[in-house]
Symmetry: C2
Subunit: 312 residues, 2 copies
């Protein structure tokens, strides 16, 4: 099962973190931008090529120590279809380096349309007698506001194609409570959503105690993470909000079980823009990213201790 | 304001409907598929070119009687970046024919990432000294589960670039009630979301009584549409669920005010696949789509009466 593979990679690297690849052009070192603009002009194609080269440099610097990447679809869409080509090429490169790929798209719809999203990101599409992967991912983030009609096509895809999903439960942003903390018969909406995920997950069982339907639970809300872990023993957490958004390793410790399993913590800008924060030469962006990824791993592992896969 | 322009187009054509462009390859007439496969092979490019030709044929047949198109992003993503190129080219073509373009993407995220989506679909992106429209739309559908952090970057874009958004409130699918009908202090979640939209809308005021933040309200739930219209007097409704999903013109009448304004009703498969349903020659797909669009218009106008724009 897909999340089992993620857990195994986390254990191999003793590192429950994922590098978010959310590349704005401003984040890309100037020498890469200039090279691509010289070749392709100041065009969407030039921008998309620059993002790809930046991403590849980051992946090269990270793949032996970080188990997964999480490209955020918005940053690729922002450069049009050329940007979407870079999304595909980034995913392909990450996969070739053995990394687990989580596409952060927060996709949502119903029935046949959700099947189309599932096919786009987790499946294969038929064209005449041929089949193609439109985009490449091991897992996709999705929004469950529409209820199980929006999730069922994904569960089928997860079962058939060995894929996973992460459903938004409690997001990391300041206003996430406007809806998610409202209580329904005494139960907050984020718990309600979490419980639906624990139910959906039963259809995609895993061997390490966690099922194939994970949730997104923001590091910026440690109390809610603790509560979610209590009520969702078989649900894996994708945890944004560490670093740039202000949460610390302590804040996320409650997401993890006694074996150090149960979650993966994302850092995007912290890693991508490490060379800016460390004020080093921009040619050293990849080394700076690696240094930050190691610092983050060590900080989080300091809280968790050891990660042990036990096939129970 | 963007939705004012939509309302004016609806009044000009006396037609409060939008043609959904959700093109699966199976919907495309064989003669178009064969032509494109002959030229580009059974590839994603071949598929994407076939979708584009199909869409252009539909737009040619509809633009003088239907005010808007709603391409559903999922069906373009399903054909990879080549499909996204077809999304762009479809939007560009619809705009060149004077149609209002609603991209149905149900996008959602927070802060800088939501800004990236807003830029992608409603804005312009800077590349060096140049600026480009990554995709082309007058309005975008979005999911408000993350609260106002996810909406504010869009409001800014709506104000600056004359664009609109439609936020999911009550979706048309059978399981939409799992979360949306749950009550918070006696108020269902879909109403709560609707009220947030009415508030957000105040920042993008319109001249015909409706603001720039609309909602999605499914035709399959007439009671909820009626209730939403009562409590959201300044919110415009995008109404899916008519036709293929089973709702009738009577079901949506409550969405409209005494001037016949207040909503736009979507039909996707009903129009795109009209030639299959009417069992006519596939070369006549465009004429069949036009015939169905006229039938739908007449049926809905039969309930509404007349559409009168009054600048009050």
């Amino acid at each position: 099962m897909s999340l089992d593979r993620l857990i195994e990679k986390i254990e191999q690297k003793q590192n429950p973190t994922v590098a978010g690849l959310d590349p704005k052009l401003d984040y890309v070192p100037e020498f890469i931008r200039e090279k691509c603009f010289d070749k392709y002009g100041e065009t969407l194609k030039g921008a998309a090529k620059a993002l790809l080269e930046f991403n590849k440099g980051l992946i090269d610097a990270l793949y032996d120590i970080v188990p997964a990447v999480k490209p955020q679809a918005a940053y690729y869409e922002m450069y049009g279809f050329q940007g979407m080509k870079t999304l595909y090429k980034t995913q392909e490169y990450a996969r070739s380096k053995g990394m687990y790929v989580i596409t952060d798209g927060k996709r949502n719809d119903i029935g046949a349309t959700m099947e189309a999203y599932a096919t786009a990101h987790l499946g294969k599409v038929k064209v005449g007698k041929e089949e193609y992967e439109p985009f490449i991912a091991d897992a996709l983030t999705v929004n469950g506001y529409l209820g199980s009609d929006g999730i069922k096509p994904l569960l089928k895809m997860c079962q058939e194609n060995d894929k996973g999903i992460f459903v938004l439960a409690k997001t990391s942003n300041p206003s996430s409570g406007e809806l998610q903390d409202k209580t329904v018969d005494g139960v907050p909406v984020y718990e309600l959503m979490g419980k639906m995920c624990e139910e959906w997950g039963k259809e995609v069982p895993g061997v390490y105690g966690y099922n194939g339907v994970g949730i997104v639970a923001g590091a910026t809300y440690p109390e809610q993470i603790k509560r979610l872990r209590e009520i969702l023993p078989h649900t894996f957490f994708l945890i944004p909000g560490y670093g740039a958004q202000g949460a610390s390793a302590k804040d996320i410790a409650a997401a993890f079980d006694k074996n150090g399993l149960g979650g993966i913590v994302n850092s995007s800008r912290g890693i991508m823009c490490a060379y800016q924060k460390q004020k080093c030469d921009e040619h050293e962006f990849a080394e700076a990213a690696r240094k930050e990824a190691i610092r983050m791993r060590d900080e989080i592992m300091g809280e968790i201790g050891k990660i042990t896969v036990s096939n129970s």
